[in-house]
């Protein structure tokens, strides 16, 4: 159990740091360190050199973070002060590659901006494109698939209800890294039904994430609208399908295993081991998907012939290269500028409503946990 947790915690830092280091190679050709450039600039010697420098520096930071994560494991015992030390150290392990790579991105972003001014790379307009009536283009999976969460939740609820009498008066709630149960709560309908509550929480989160993918603006390059639309469609389809499948697997596994452990069908430690293995698998799968497709499907086609044309330039709307703020743009969700995935248009009030909603959901869950005692 400890070994598995070690692999998960340390592996997460290494995996995420590795993905961050590889990010410049996953971006579309017309972007370099969150700056709009002609696609022909992808092979500019300076930009190539900066990508390599960013890579090695990020790998070094990830190495440091991984070592700190490994060291933090020394503090994993039952004593409270060691748990606090572990938490602080692990946060540091995550922060070092994250914050460090962000600072590096900003540094190289400034360099690319200077190069852009020096080379006179200017947009000829602010052209945007849409692909209409192309039913054969791949697209994100249908929202109807999320209905599969319903039988999952109902099955878990049935499991709890049918075995309610078998559930112990003290339900195990937490285990330490040795697999030893560290806290219990008194059996009540709320505490016994907690696996169902967790499943509902996960289902809402995953369903919302899938909806944002469907709702997002598509990344279509006016220079090559058909290929970029196809590549983006594949990317969005793959990401949404993975989200759906892993969402169902993780949600169902967590809920059912928690329910089984509450009436002793399996131990909490065994449940934790299975969930941990699944979490590792989910992380690895997500990284592989990102590398295979790239952001917006940038890696779907072999690098196409670059062009010097720059049909649009929206750098001014990307604050610090990662926060999109554009009052004139009605889109709420947009593809990320530096990284794999999607982001919000923070000028739209709806973005803040969604964030508030997610926070509220977490607060409600926390309140329920506290209410269980």
């Amino acid at each position: 159990m400890q070994i598995l947790m070690f692999v998960l915690l340390v592996g997460c830092v290494a995996l995420c740091g590795g993905l961050i280091a590889a990010t410049p190679w996953l971006m579309p050709a017309n972007q370099a360190f969150a700056v709009t450039v002609p696609s022909s600039a992808h092979d500019d010697p300076s930009i190539r050199q900066w990508r390599r420098s960013y890579l090695w520096a990020s790998v070094a930071l990830t190495g440091i973070g991984t070592l700190i994560a490994a060291w933090s494991f020394d503090f994993v015992t039952g004593a409270d002060e060691n748990a606090v030390a572990f938490l602080w150290l692990y946060c540091l392990a995550v922060a070092v590659p994250l914050a460090g790579s962000f600072a590096l991105m900003l540094h190289y972003r400034r360099r690319v901006q200077a190069l852009k001014a020096e080379k006179g790379w200017r947009a000829t307009g602010q052209v945007s494109a849409a692909v209409i009536d192309e039913p054969d283009l791949p697209r994100p999976v249908s929202m109807w698939w999320n209905l599969l969460y319903v039988p999952l939740i109902l099955a878990t609820a049935a499991l709890v209800v049918c075995n309610y009498d078998k559930i112990a008066d003290q339900i195990p709630m937490n285990v330490d890294f040795d697999g030893t149960v560290t806290s219990y709560v008194a059996k009540t309908p709320l505490s016994a039904g907690f696996p169902v509550i967790m499943e509902v929480f996960f289902a809402v989160i995953f369903t919302f994430c899938l909806w944002t993918i469907r709702r997002s603006r598509k990344a279509i390059d006016p220079n090559k609208p058909q290929t970029s639309a196809y590549a983006y469609g594949l990317f969005a389809h793959a990401q949404s399908a993975y989200l759906l499948v892993m969402g169902l697997v993780l949600t169902g596994t967590c809920g059912i295993l928690m329910a089984l452990s509450s009436f002793g069908a399996i131990t909490m430690a065994s449940a934790a081991i299975i969930i941990t293995l699944l979490a590792i698998l989910a992380c690895v799968g997500a990284v592989v998907l990102s590398v295979v497709y790239g952001q917006n499907g940038a890696r779907v086609f072999e690098r196409l012939q670059g062009t010097d044309a720059m049909p649009a330039d929206d750098d001014e709307h990307w604050i610090l290269g990662v926060f999109y703020v554009n009052r004139e743009d009605p889109a709420v969700f947009v593809p990320k500028r530096f990284g794999v995935g999607w982001s919000c248009n923070w000028a739209r009030p709806l973005s803040w409503v969604f964030v508030a909603g997610l926070v509220l959901l977490c607060v409600v869950l926390l309140w329920l946990c506290l209410a269980m005692g």
Binding site: A130, I132, E134, R217, P222, D329, P330, A331
Partner: protein
């Protein structure tokens, strides 16, 4: 069909959308019954104000290119709705005005009748290829 807009163009965005859809219908890229994205979806995809897309769709409807089918949204109309005699007469009158302006401008630049007809021939070949 790919639809592109450029806010920096002299042509208003709603006109750009209108012209491209009308052209797509003319060359058969869009057929009767083909769906158009919702106003919101197209506005979000192009990064264009929803009112602008609404104007384009309103113009397309008035000119008979598009019909609204309730929850099914906007669809390309039957040719009879945009190829009515009234629409043809209005288009001819509009085209005559534009041709008159083009001819006068070419004349002011020292170009002759043959040049004007040559340009008109090229434009016609692009839309109605010679058989």
């Amino acid at each position: 069909m790919v639809l592109t807009v450029d806010p920096m163009s002299d042509v208003p965005i709603y006109q750009q959308i209108f012209r491209q859809v009308a052209e797509a219908v003319a060359i058969g890229e869009l057929s009767p019954g083909d769906p158009l994205p919702s106003v919101r979806a197209l506005g979000e995809q192009l990064g264009v104000n929803l009112h602008t897309v609404n104007k384009a769709y309103a113009l397309l409807r008035d000119e008979g290119y598009v019909v609204m089918r309730g929850r099914a949204g906007a669809r390309i109309a039957d040719p009879s709705s945009y190829q009515s005699q009234a629409h043809r007469d209005a288009s001819c009158a509009h085209a005559a005005e534009q041709l008159d302006a083009v001819a006068r401008e070419l004349a002011s630049r020292g170009l002759d009748r043959a040049a004007f007809l040559g340009l008109a021939e090229q434009a016609a070949d692009a839309v109605w290829p010679s058989r």
